[in-house]
């Protein structure tokens, strides 16, 4: 994408709270009309970024640019963006109509226009007829819709959303994901969305920014991030994966778990220690032979579309998904094509599923987030 | 936390509280330990010592009234806390209603019941028991305390009991507890914060009252509150002994509160939340 349609740019942003570094010299460019998701575990600094963009928190270092202009010193009410807050933050002393009209009133908009805009916004979020309801008697999902309508009524160039679906139940959340994406597309404005839910990020986003400890790991389209994770952290955070230590003997040849496999990666030093990431769904279970990793099926769980299996290979427990059922106790071979093997620079990241190696717990399926 | 930057607004309140709460309390201390010329003395405390029997009587009667209030309020508060919401509101209103009526008028109303030729005695006589002298007895004073302060026991008990989930009681029964066991193992332990605040809210005004004893106790009935009133405004005028007596009363109240605040209420509230 060309740089002309950049709407927000963060340069060298640092922020500490009580001596704890939350953001560390962070750079981020956000394009106009995109749905951008800041994704990371809690405490990774994603909400702080949102608050800095919104103007509620001041960065210690660095600059924020909005459409090319530095807005470091611009107070929140003068910024052309609006926020949907995590716990809705609706004004309980006002009804639905007045909540949505709040920003317009401040701008001294004529009453007729306010009425028109509020109607339009409530239709957009499917809350027609709720004008005179008190906000504290609405359900969580309805409150969320009011919060969205209230923010959008001000015609922001950018809408900031801070884990807006976090408090909703699963079914409602799925519905709202689709709706939010639709709203974003129909209005054609930029959404910056903060979440720790990787599935939510994959569903809605044009661009995902994966963060950890105040730093950006990877930024790209959902497909890129899923298929070509840049490091073990990203791979583990986005979807399930098997992460094993390996040695890169030479270009296109990697050894892990005592076996050599062909791969598509190159450019490492000879015999460099690396992380190898393999997605469970890429694993094909076959009759074992000595060229491949072999193991014993330890658990099988039927997941509807496929079987999820754990294969014990000595210390390591592999996660595999296959449509063909293999009985527990059977010895199987793990078949991998070069395409399935992702080699990454060694990082000190320890995936949380590695704990399983020490204490295998077959009851606990899916050790990833959510 | 919102940064309102309004620190200054606490200023007037701080000044007010120093001038009209802290300094007055210190004045009691000062008067209690000085004589008319402002010299330090223990004499006031010594003369206040004469009131120890009165003090003991006040504490004793206040304790009896507090215990009666607790026993009367507990089942009542529990039964209304189990009723549907609109009925609960009605009962709370009925409890609060007399509380909102002037305290003196309430006591005045009660006094008419106890008069020698009042309605109780009229009834007693007509059924052949004969008149009983009630005015001026400890009985009348204790009933007066209970009548006036019972709402202060019911309301805190009720508000803590509404937080006790019915399923807790049911599961206790399910696990084999009988009614008595449910009472002692579930209801009472979980009501402790309400019991504690109810006890202080009844005991403190009861132990320091002078109106109830004057209205229902007659001329010779003397409680510690009457002693203070007589020393500050009445016929045994002496601000210094009055302060010393007030100081002793205050110490009693503080000791009571310390005893009760040691009961750990936080744990119970956590269980309920």
């Amino acid at each position: 994408m060309d740089t002309n349609n950049t709407i927000i740019e963060l340069k060298g942003i640092s922020k500490s709270y009580n001596g704890m570094k939350v953001l560390d010299k962070l750079n981020l460019t956000i394009h106009d009309k995109e749905f951008v998701t800041l994704l990371g575990p809690s405490g990774c600094g994603k909400t702080t970024i949102l608050r800095i963009i919104g103007g509620f928190v001041e960065q210690d270092e660095g600059d924020v640019f909005f459409m090319g202009k530095n807005i470091n010193d611009l107070p929140p009410h003068k910024r052309q963006l609006n926020t949907v807050f995590q716990k809705y933050a609706l004004f309980t002393h006002l009804d639905v109509y007045e909540n949505v009209a709040f920003g317009l009133r401040l701008k001294k908009t004529p009453e007729k226009e306010i009425a028109k805009k509020v109607k339009e916004m409530l239709e957009l979020v499917n809350l027609k007829g709720y004008e005179s309801r008190r906000v504290d008697v609405l359900s969580g999902g309805q409150q969320q819709r009011v919060a969205i309508a209230r923010a959008l009524a001000n015609n922001p160039k950018v809408l900031l959303l801070d884990e807006p679906l976090g408090a909703l139940d699963l079914k409602l959340r799925k519905g709202m994901q689709v709706e939010l994406k639709k709203i974003q597309q129909s209005l054609g404005i930029t959404f910056i969305y903060v979440t720790h839910d990787q599935e939510e990020a994959l569903t809605m986003s044009d661009t995902i920014v994966v963060m950890e400890n105040g730093k950006i790991h990877q930024m790209g389209t959902p497909t890129d991030i899923y298929n070509e994770p840049i490091d073990a952290f990203t791979a583990d955070f986005i979807g399930e994966s098997n992460i094993v230590p390996g040695i890169m003997h030479k270009d296109y040849l990697v050894e892990f778990s005592g076996k050599c496999y062909e791969c598509l990666d190159k450019g490492f030093e000879q015999d460099e220690e690396v992380d190898v990431v393999i997605r469970p769904e890429d694993i094909k279970l076959v009759e074992p032979n000595e060229k491949m990793i072999t193991g014993i099926v330890e658990t099988v769980v039927f997941k509807g579309m496929h079987y999820e299996m754990r294969i014990r290979c000595g210390e390591k427990l592999w996660k595999a998904q296959d449509t063909i059922f293999e009985p527990v106790g059977k010895e199987v071979g793990i078949h991998l094509t070069p395409n399935d093997i992702h080699v990454m620079k060694k990082s000190d990241f320890v995936p949380n599923n590695s704990k399983e190696v020490v204490t295998p717990n077959p009851e606990n399926e899916g050790s990833n987030e959510n | 936390m919102i940064n309102l930057k309004a620190k200054w607004a606490a200023g007037p309140y701080i000044v007010w509280m120093i001038l009209f709460t802290i300094i007055p309390m210190l004045m009691i201390l000062y008067y209690a330990f000085t004589d008319n010329n402002g010299a330090f003395t223990f004499e006031n405390m010594v003369s206040a010592w004469d009131y120890v029997p009165t003090l003991i009587r006040s504490i004793w009667l206040a304790l009896i009234a507090t215990v009666i209030c607790l026993i009367m309020a507990f089942p009542f508060a529990y039964s209304i806390s189990r009723k549907p919401m609109s009925k609960q509101k009605m009962f709370v209103m009925l409890v609060m209603l007399p509380m909102w009526m002037n305290f003196l008028l309430r006591t005045h109303a009660l006094a008419q019941l106890f008069e020698d030729n009042g309605i109780i005695n009229t009834v007693l006589q007509s059924i052949g028991i004969g008149r009983i002298q009630m005015m001026g007895t400890e009985f009348a004073v204790v009933v007066g305390m209970v009548y006036n302060f019972l709402p202060f026991m019911i309301l805190p008990l009720y508000s803590i009991m509404t937080k006790i989930d019915q399923s807790l009681v049911e599961s206790a029964h399910d696990l084999g507890a009988n009614n008595i066991q449910v009472l002692f193992k579930i209801l009472i332990p979980l009501s402790v914060p309400g019991i504690v605040s109810g006890i202080t809210m009844v005991f403190v005004p009861a132990v320091s009252t002078f109106v109830i004893s004057k209205f229902l106790g007659g001329t010779d009935f003397y409680l510690i509150g009457d002693a203070i009133e007589a020393q500050i405004l009445g016929n045994s005028y002496n601000l210094h002994t009055g302060s010393a007596t007030s100081l002793i009363l205050m110490v009693i109240v503080i000791i009571t509160m310390l005893i009760f605040s040691r009961i750990d209420t936080e744990e119970v509230e956590e269980t309920l939340a």
Partner: protein, 272 residues
């Protein structure tokens, strides 16, 4: 609950209600009794006529209302400022100290508060009367106002203030358009509490009023060891007044509660 328990509970609740209300009912009956004694000698409304013609009662009623109005307005202003100020304070120590001092008038026996203020007025040569009474009443009303507003401020979540800024408020507008309306119920509760405390107070007024007569003080001087049918008439009127006020506020509250319940059930239906 078994049938038996239910029966006994009902009996018991009726007993408690009788305990509360029989003296009041009796007073209401006596207020229409033509003689001063306890025997019924015929119906009369004379006591009510006498009550309204009693200059002392009427002037002390006026004093009480004026005092309550002044004290509660001042207390509300002082208490609201205090809540905003204490909320903004950063020092934990200072906050705890202020809260502890706030509890002194609420927890100490009224007679001690009355004595302490009386000593102060004597020592500071503040003449007893209006000034001392107003000071005394503000002193015991302010803490309740303060304590009814502070939790409301705490309930406002940080995001609500941010949201106001986000939607175009400057900090002053965020304060007047969001913070104040959000704590308004607390301010109102505090004001009403101050008003009722002030009207109801006898003990502290008794020690600080000097020669000024409030209604409570007048009632006290009229009823000490004497039964007065005029006071019975006054009790009847006061009871009815409080009853009507409570009834109105309760009906309103119950209606609100019902509306809320209905709306919640509707929402549930809608979401299904």
């Amino acid at each position: 609950m078994s049938k038996n328990t239910k029966f006994f509970t009902t009996i018991y609740n009726i007993f408690i209600m009788m305990f509360f209300y029989s003296p009041i009912a009796l007073v209401m009956v006596y207020s229409f009794n033509s003689s001063k004694g306890f025997e019924w000698t015929g119906f009369t409304t004379n006591w009510y006529v006498e009550l309204f013609n009693d200059e002392l009662i009427m002037s002390s009623l006026l004093n009480t209302l004026l005092l309550a109005a002044i004290a509660s307005v001042f207390s509300t202003i002082l208490g609201t400022l205090a809540a905003l100020g204490v909320y903004s304070l950063k020092s934990k120590k200072l906050k705890t100290t202020i809260k502890t001092v706030t509890n002194i008038p609420l927890l100490s026996p009224e007679i001690v508060t009355g004595v302490s203020l009386m000593l102060l007025f004597t020592a500071a040569r503040i003449s007893t009367g209006w000034v001392s009474l107003i000071i005394a009443h503000i002193s015991f009303c302010v803490p309740s106002v303060f304590l009814s507003i502070l939790p409301k401020l705490r309930q406002i979540n940080r995001d609500m203030y941010s949201a106001a800024l986000d939607l175009g408020c400057n900090t002053r507008q965020a304060f007047t358009k969001v913070i104040i309306p959000e704590i308004l119920p607390g301010i109102l509760t505090g004001f009403l509490m101050a008003l009722t405390y002030s009207i109801d107070d006898f003990i502290i007024s008794y020690f600080t009023a000097g020669n000024l007569q409030t209604l409570s003080i007048t009632i006290y001087s009229m009823t000490r060891r004497r039964i007065s049918p005029k006071i019975n008439a006054l009790s009847t009127l006061m009871f009815l007044l409080v009853f009507i006020i409570l009834l109105i506020s309760n009906v309103y509250a119950i209606r609100k509660e019902r509306a809320k319940e209905i709306k919640i059930s509707q929402n549930l239906k809608n979401s299904i």
